[in-house]
Symmetry: C2
Subunit: 347 residues, 2 copies
């Protein structure tokens, strides 16, 4: 039965508290806001009234008055992608520390929903938005009026004028592939490649892959490059299945994210390959699931916590109107290669 917990007919206001305590409502407000200069006797009376009525501030009213809400939006593709789930957790934590609460908006790769987040933002109760687009371009962004401070995440939009926290995509990818090459691998398949011109992480990571090959004097073999679909595990499995079927020789796989790499790992093991014996595998993102696969997955740690903290801090400064003069608006987090079993020299 729900009846035991009916919502009370009416919540007490500061006027109710004031009446109960025999003071004016401003006095109640001042006490609530922690102003000092309230006579002890008055304070006691008000506090008793607060207690008696079980008063809670109506934050909507406070927000209307203050013109701020203490809420921000985090707009990401989906919490079903481990990287974004972990990123969201980091953002929520960082936001907490500066007194902000986080709406999670999942746009699921839908163009209209990405646009909606931005265009609704002004009225939509939030003081700011952290936005990780997957389909919108710099041009799209220039079209809409964003009604509040915005911080961009990810690798689709650079130099938009908005603060932007990016990963070291290209360098990270290069280091990942150089690591494979240092192991003696020269036939490195790559999964997650997208059509050129489709800007974003795919392009940058591919550039890093190419750079590593070039430096080692290894020619690029397009038969080793695969589409990754939506960069989910299923895409990794699919790519590796194709690769195996093609009979093109290969001795390593670089997945553009951990999901692709773990999918690839899955496909390879199922097909009877040994990893890293026959094929070494590297991912990108350093999500938790790569730690516990067998073999565990070598990956590029893109500095997720750093990214979250930086994004929140940039947004917070923009919201509070702190001088953003000294802030660079294009920031790149530090990355690290995490060596694990999938590229171990001996199994």
């Amino acid at each position: 039965m729900v009846s035991a917990h009916e919502t009370p007919a009416k919540r007490p206001t500061i006027y109710d508290v004031a009446r109960e305590a025999g003071v004016s409502h401003q006095t109640v407000s001042r006490l609530l806001l922690g102003y000092d200069g309230i006579r002890p006797a008055t304070r006691t009376r008000v506090e008793a009234a607060l207690q008696a009525l079980d008063y809670r501030t109506n934050l909507t009213a406070r927000n209307l008055r203050n013109g701020r809400t203490g809420m921000i939006s985090l707009a990401i593709p989906s919490l079903n992608q481990p990287y974004f789930a972990e990123l969201a957790q980091s953002v929520i934590r960082a936001a907490r520390e500066v007194g902000l609460r986080v709406f999670v908006e999942t746009m699921e790769g839908d163009r209209d929903r990405e646009l909606a987040v931005l265009s609704r933002s002004r009225g939509n109760l939030v003081d700011g938005v952290i936005f990780a687009p997957t389909v919108l371009s710099a041009g799209d962004l220039a079209q809409v009026t964003v009604g509040c401070p915005l911080v961009l995440l990810g690798d689709r939009i650079f130099d938009s004028g908005y603060p932007h926290v990016a990963m070291a995509n290209s360098e990270g990818a290069r280091v990942a592939v150089e690591h494979l090459i240092a192991l003696g691998r020269r036939r490195v398949a790559v999964i997650g490649v997208e059509e050129p011109g489709n800007h974003g992480a795919a392009e940058l990571r591919f550039a890093g892959y190419r750079a590593a090959l070039d430096r080692a004097g290894i020619p690029f073999d397009p038969r080793l490059a695969f589409d990754g679909g939506e960069w989910l595990k299923a895409g990794g499995v699919h790519a590796v299945d194709q690769l195996i079927e093609s009979r093109v020789p290969f001795d390593a796989v670089f997945g553009f994210n951990d999901a692709l790499a773990l999918g690839a790992l899955r496909g390879l093991l199922r097909a009877g390959f040994s990893v890293p014996g026959d094929v070494a595998v590297v991912g990108f993102d350093d999500t938790e699931d790569g730690l516990y696969s067998t073999p565990s997955l070598t990956s590029i740690n893109p500095g997720r916590d750093d990214i979250a903290r930086t994004a929140v801090s940039l947004l917070d400064r923009a919201i509070t109107g702190a001088s953003t003069e000294g802030d660079r608006s294009e920031i790149q987090a530090n990355f690290r290669l995490m060596e694990r079993e999938s590229t171990a020299t001996r199994t």
Copy 2:
């Protein structure tokens, strides 16, 4: 440079729009709310003004007036746990469909933060809360005044009077273990066991485990029961390491969630066991990562989408004051055994 995107000094209000259009602000409000009975000529003028000023409704003001915000809280342990990340995604999606936006509050197993979610809820801008406690008990819940509709998730608190969506923990666990027994396994280790008296999923799943053994006439061997820490993958690895070291014979492992089971899988493979050849492994939750492990993980699908949808719908009904008469307040989602390679008869 951020300067290109300064926040405009002042947002236009309906008064500004009204002045621009030469009507009263109520007319603007009515048009915005889609009321009909506005003369076409007037409508045109107002719409032009709306456009010209790039007006967006101030939702804080609307909410103050309406006494509702269209926002709910989803209070869960952490998005770093795949089960909760996927659940959050499902809740966000279900909420979207009924026009609600979701705050994700992560309590990270902290008692004070669990309490805070409830006690702040009244003032805290949300119309309702979906709450998945990990430490609060029914007694704690009875202590606090929850200021808004509440729906409980999970398996710590039953019969509190609040609507509650639970899993078929005990039955699901029983079916999982019966599945192992049907494979001929009789030495089923179990990971995630907690002290008796600590109510919740652990207790219920353990009961299911015991029931399966009992029905098969297999005596319970306490040397096969392991603590699971926080039910993360690391806990599964740790438990299996202990198990192996103990030299107690076993031929199957039941992890109380997929993270534990995947950790166990990892530990077993690393130690040279074959799965399912030497040891069959079953989990609970059916998260995405179990689909792509090698071997893929047999698990209990607890009906996550169902749970999310039901919880949102119960909350929405409570918020809108729809008759909750016919609603049962204790609901149990349907589960399904998902058979995969980790319990396949032949590898």
